[in-house]
C-alpha cells in the first residue's frame, strides 16, 4: 500500500464523480426524490374513511350513535336510505363499509337489549379493514359510555383497556416509515453507485490500463471505496436533516450512534456493490443485479414496512442475511426510542461482520488478470 499512489487514485475517482453528474444525482437527488415520495405518498394512517350509515327508523335513540361516528376524525359519514343502496355503493367502491341500525334498534336498546348493530366492511384491503373495525369499536364504546353516564347505570365493560403507546404515542406511520426509508435509500446509493463504477472500467477498457500500472488491486478498490463513501455519507446527512426538519421525525438517540451505524452500513452496501460489479463486468447486468438483490429485499424483507416477526420461519431466516434488516432496526430504535444498547450492539456487530465479509471477498476475487 503506497499512500502517494492511493492519493492519486482517489483524486482520479473524485474528478470522475464531479465530471459525471449522474453519480451526484444518485447520491443527492435520489434521496430527496424518494424521501418526498415516501414521506408524502405512503401512509398507513386511515382517516376520513367513507362509511355509509343506514338507520331504518331514525329516532332519538339512533341519533347519538350516528353523531359519535360523525365526530370521529376517522370517518366520513354518508347517510344512505336503505340496505340495497348501501350494497350498491359498496360494490361501486364509493364506501369502505357501512353501519346498519335495524328497525328495532330503539326498542332493543331501551328494553330487552342488546340491539345488534350490523357492520359490513370491504375486506379486500385487510389491513385498512382491521383498522376501521378498531375505530368503529372505539366509537361504539364511547357511545355506550355516554349512554351509561346519562342513565347513571353500571359500566358495560367491566374490564377497561388502558393503553400506553411508547415511542410513538400518536401512532404516526410516517415516524417509522421515514427512518426505515433511509436504510432503503442508503442501500440504493451504496450498491447502485459502486455496482456501476468497476463495471464501467471493465466496459471501457480502462481497467487494463490501471492493471498495467504499478498500483495494487487493494489500492484500486480502496481508491474506489473512499470517494463513494464520502458521497454516500453526504446523502445520509441530507436524508437525516430532511427527516428531522421536513417530516418532524423525533431523533431520540445520539447523533454519534447514528453516524457510526450509518458508516458501517455504508461499508456493507459499498462492498456489495463492488462485489457485484467485479463479478458482472457489465454495467447493464450489474445494474440489474444491484436492483434485484439490494433494493427490493431492502424494501420488503427488512422490516421497513412489514413486521419480520410475523413472517414464516424460512423467510425470517433469509432476512438474517440482509444487511438492511439490521440497519432498519438500528434506525427505528435510534430515531424513536433512543440509544438502546441491547438492540444497537448486536445489530452493529452483524453489520461489521458483513462489511468485513463483502470487502474481503471482493479483494480475494479481484486479481490483476484479464480473463
Amino acid at each position: 500500500m503506497n499512500v502517494g499512489r492511493l492519493r492519486g487514485l482517489i483524486w482520479k475517482e473524485s474528478v470522475q464523480i464531479l465530471r459525471d453528474p449522474s453519480a451526484l444525482a444518485i447520491a443527492f437527488v435520489l434521496p430527496l426524490f424518494l424521501l418526498l415520495l415516501f414521506g408524502y405518498g405512503v401512509s398507513l394512517n386511515a382517516e376520513h374513511v367513507p362509511v355509509g350509515v343506514i338507520a331504518d327508523h331514525p329516532n332519538p335513540q339512533t341519533e347519538p350513535f350516528i353523531a359519535t361516528l360523525r365526530h370521529s376524525r376517522y370517518f366520513d359519514v354518508h347517510a344512505l336510505p336503505s340496505l340495497p343502496a348501501a350494497r350498491a355503493a359498496m360494490a361501486r367502491r364509493e364506501i369502505s363499509g357501512f353501519v346498519w341500525l335495524p328497525g328495532d334498534f330503539a326498542r332493543q336498546t331501551l328494553a330487552t337489549g342488546p340491539a345488534a348493530i350490523g357492520v359490513a366492511l370491504n375486506g379486500v384491503d385487510a389491513n385498512t379493514a382491521r383498522l376501521v373495525e378498531g375505530y368503529l369499536t372505539q366509537s361504539w364504546q364511547i357511545w355506550l359510555a355516554q349512554m351509561q353516564q346519562e342513565q347513571a347505570s353500571a359500566a358495560a365493560f367491566p374490564v377497561g383497556l388502558q393503553t400506553r403507546i411508547w415511542f410513538n404515542p400518536a401512532l404516526r406511520s410516517r415516524d417509522y416509515l421515514v427512518p426505515g426509508l433511509i436504510a432503503v435509500i442508503m442501500t440504493l446509493i451504496g450498491a447502485l453507485l459502486t455496482a456501476l463504477v468497476v463495471a464501467r472500467e471493465w466496459e471501457r477498457g480502462t481497467m487494463e490500463a490501471l492493471m498495467a500500472s504499478p498500483v495494487t488491486m487493494a489500492e484500486i478498490l480502496l481508491g474506489k471505496l473512499l470517494p463513494y463513501f464520502v458521497l454516500g455519507m453526504g446523502g445520509m446527512v441530507l436524508s437525516v436533516v430532511l427527516a428531522v426538519t421536513l417530516f418532524a421525525v423525533p431523533l431520540q438517540g445520539s447523533l454519534w450512534v447514528l453516524t457510526g451505524a450509518s458508516a458501517l452500513f455504508l461499508l456493507v452496501a459499498l462492498g456489495m456493490g463492488l462485489l457485484i460489479s467485479s463479478l458482472a463486468r457489465n454495467q447493464f447486468v450489474a445494474g440489474q443485479i444491484a436492483i434485484v438483490v439490494t433494493f427490493l429485499p431492502a424494501f420488503i424483507l427488512s422490516g421497513f414496512i412489514f413486521d419480520i416477526r410475523s413472517m414464516p420461519a424460512p423467510i425470517q431466516f433469509i432476512t438474517h442475511i440482509l444487511p438492511a434488516r439490521y440497519f432498519v432496526s438500528i434506525l427505528q430504535t435510534v430515531f424513536l426510542a433512543g440509544n438502546v444498547w441491547p438492540v444497537i450492539l448486536p445489530d452493529a456487530a452483524a453489520l461489521a461482520g458483513m462489511a468485513a465479509f463483502f470487502l474481503g471477498i471482493t479483494l480475494w476475487r479481484s486479481h490483476k488478470r484479464l480473463d
Binding site: 415516501f38 405518498g41 405512503v42 401512509s43 394512517n45 374513511v49 359498496m90 360494490a91 369502505s96 332493543q108 337489549g113 348493530i117 350490523g118 359490513a120 379486500v124 385487510a126 389491513n127 385498512t128 383498522l131 373495525e133 378498531g134 368503529l136 361504539w140 355506550l144 351509561q148 353500571a154 359500566a155 358495560a156 365493560f157 367491566p158 374490564v159 377497561g160 383497556l161 388502558q162 393503553t163 400506553r164 403507546i165 411508547w166 415511542f167 410513538n168 401512532l171 415516524d175 417509522y176 447493464f284 447486468v285 440489474q288 427490493l296 420488503i300 424483507l301 412489514f306 413486521d307 416477526r309 410475523s310 423467510i315 427505528q332 430504535t333 424513536l336 426510542a337 438502546v340 441491547p342
Partner: protein, 368 residues
C-alpha cells in the same frame, strides 16, 4: 403481414438470444412472487408479550390465559413487578406488556371499573395498531363473558362485524393479486424500456429506419414481445396465486384478461417512450427505475391511495398501475365482470393510446 412477422421474430430473437436475458425474465419474478407473497403481510403472528400479574385473584389469571391461548400471541416472560418491563420492550424482546393490577379481581367482583393496562412498543406504528386491535377483541370477549356469568349491565347494543370479499381479513388475499400486477409491470417496463435504446446504442436502429418498414410497424415489432412476455408472465403468476396461495378468483376471466391487455399496452407505451428518450442503455435503465418506483408506491399496491394527500391522489390518475390494482382485486376478490370495471378500462385505453402515439413520435424525432 409477412414482413411484420419477420420483424417480430427478430425482436424475440434479440431479446431471448442469450441465457442471462432469458434468466432475468423468468427467474427473479418467480422467486420474488414466492418470497414477497409470504413476507408481505400486515397480519401478525407470534406477538411476544410479557405479563406482570400482581392480582392474586382468579380473574387476572383468566385474562392472562386468554392472551396466552390466543394464536397470535406468545408469552415470553412473566415478571413479578413492572421492574424490568421497560428493558424487555426497549430491546424488542416483547412487543407489549400486560399489567394486571393488585385489585383487579376485587374490583370486578364489586362492580367497580377494573382497568387492564397495556404498554406497547410503538416503533412500528402499524404493528402496534393491529396488535392493539387484537388485544381489544380479546378483552371485549372477556367482558361479554364476565357480564353473562356474574351479572352486571350488558351493553345496550353489540357490534356484529362482517368483512365482505375477505371474511377472515387475510392480508395475503390483498397482497398476492397486487404482486401479479407488480411483477408483470416491472418485466414489461424493463423489456420495452431497453428495446429501442439497445438498437440505437449498437447503431442498428438507423439501419432499421432505412428499410421499407413504416415507423408504426417498427414500433409494433418492438411492442409485441413485451406484450407476449408480459401476458405470459401475468398468466403464470395468476395461476400460482390461485393454485399455490389459494387466493379465490371469483370474477370473470374475460374482465381480468381485458384489463391486463389494456394495462400492458399502456405500460409498453410508457416503456417505449422512456426507451426513445434515452441515449444510452444506462439512461434507459435509470429512466425505467425512476418511473417504476413512484408508479409502484403511488398505485395502492401496499398502502391505500385514500390515505395520500389530495394533491398526490390526483397525480395517481396518470398511473396505469392504479387502475390495474382495482381490476386485479375486483376480479380476484369482489367477483367483478366487465361491466363493473368500465370505469377502469377507459382511462387505461386513453393512457395506452397517448403513450403509444408519443413513443412513435419520439422514436422518429430522435433519429433525425
Amino acid at each position: 403481414m409477412a414482413r411484420l412477422l419477420a420483424l417480430i421474430r427478430k425482436e424475440f430473437l434479440a431479446l431471448l438470444r442469450d441465457k442471462a436475458s432469458r434468466m432475468v425474465l423468468v427467474g427473479p419474478p418467480l422467486i420474488q412472487l414466492l418470497v414477497f407473497s409470504y413476507a408481505a403481510t400486515f397480519d401478525l403472528a407470534n406477538i411476544p408479550f410479557v405479563v406482570i400479574n400482581e392480582d392474586p385473584g382468579f380473574a387476572g389469571r383468566q385474562v392472562v390465559a386468554r392472551f396466552a391461548g390466543a394464536p397470535a400471541f406468545r408469552l415470553v416472560a412473566s415478571l413479578p413487578s413492572t421492574e424490568g418491563m421497560a428493558a424487555l420492550i426497549d430491546a424488542r424482546t416483547a412487543l407489549l406488556a400486560i399489567h394486571v393490577d393488585r385489585d383487579f379481581t376485587r374490583n370486578l367482583l364489586t362492580h367497580r371499573p377494573a382497568p387492564l393496562q397495556i404498554v406497547i412498543d410503538g416503533r412500528n406504528s402499524n404493528t402496534a395498531a393491529v396488535a392493539l386491535s387484537y388485544a381489544s377483541n380479546i378483552v371485549l370477549d372477556y367482558d361479554a363473558e364476565w357480564a353473562a356469568m356474574h351479572g352486571g349491565t350488558r351493553a345496550a347494543a353489540t357490534l356484529d362485524v362482517r368483512a365482505w370479499y375477505n371474511p377472515n381479513l387475510l392480508s395475503r388475499w390483498f397482497v398476492v393479486p397486487g404482486i401479479v400486477g407488480l411483477l408483470t409491470f416491472v418485466v414489461t417496463i424493463l423489456v420495452s424500456g431497453l428495446s429501442v435504446v439497445r438498437e440505437r446504442e449498437s447503431g442498428t436502429f438507423d439501419q432499421l429506419l432505412v428499410t421499407p418498414y413504416r415507423p408504426w410497424e417498427i414500433l409494433l415489432g418492438k411492442a409485441v414481445p413485451g406484450l407476449v412476455i408480459g401476458a405470459g408472465e401475468a398468466t403464470l403468476i395468476a395461476v400460482v396465486a390461485v393454485f399455490w396461495f389459494g387466493v379465490p378468483l371469483l370474477g370473470s376471466l374475460l374482465a381480468l384478461a381485458l384489463g391486463l391487455l389494456l394495462f400492458l399496452v399502456s405500460a409498453i407505451g410508457i416503456g417505449l417512450m422512456i426507451s426513445s428518450l434515452a441515449a444510452t442503455q444506462q439512461q434507459g435503465l435509470l429512466g425505467a427505475f425512476l418511473f417504476l418506483v413512484p408508479a409502484i408506491i403511488l398505485s395502492g399496491f401496499a398502502t391505500p391511495i385514500a390515505n395520500m394527500p389530495e394533491a398526490v391522489q390526483y397525480v395517481t390518475y396518470l398511473n396505469p398501475m392504479r387502475y390495474l390494482m382495482v381490476i386485479l382485486r375486483g376480479t380476484f376478490l369482489e367477483g367483478d365482470g366487465v361491466a363493473d370495471l368500465l370505469g377502469q378500462y377507459w382511462p387505461l385505453a386513453l393512457l395506452g393510446a397517448a403513450s403509444m402515439t408519443a413513443a412513435a413520435r419520439l422514436a422518429r424525432r430522435r433519429s433525425e
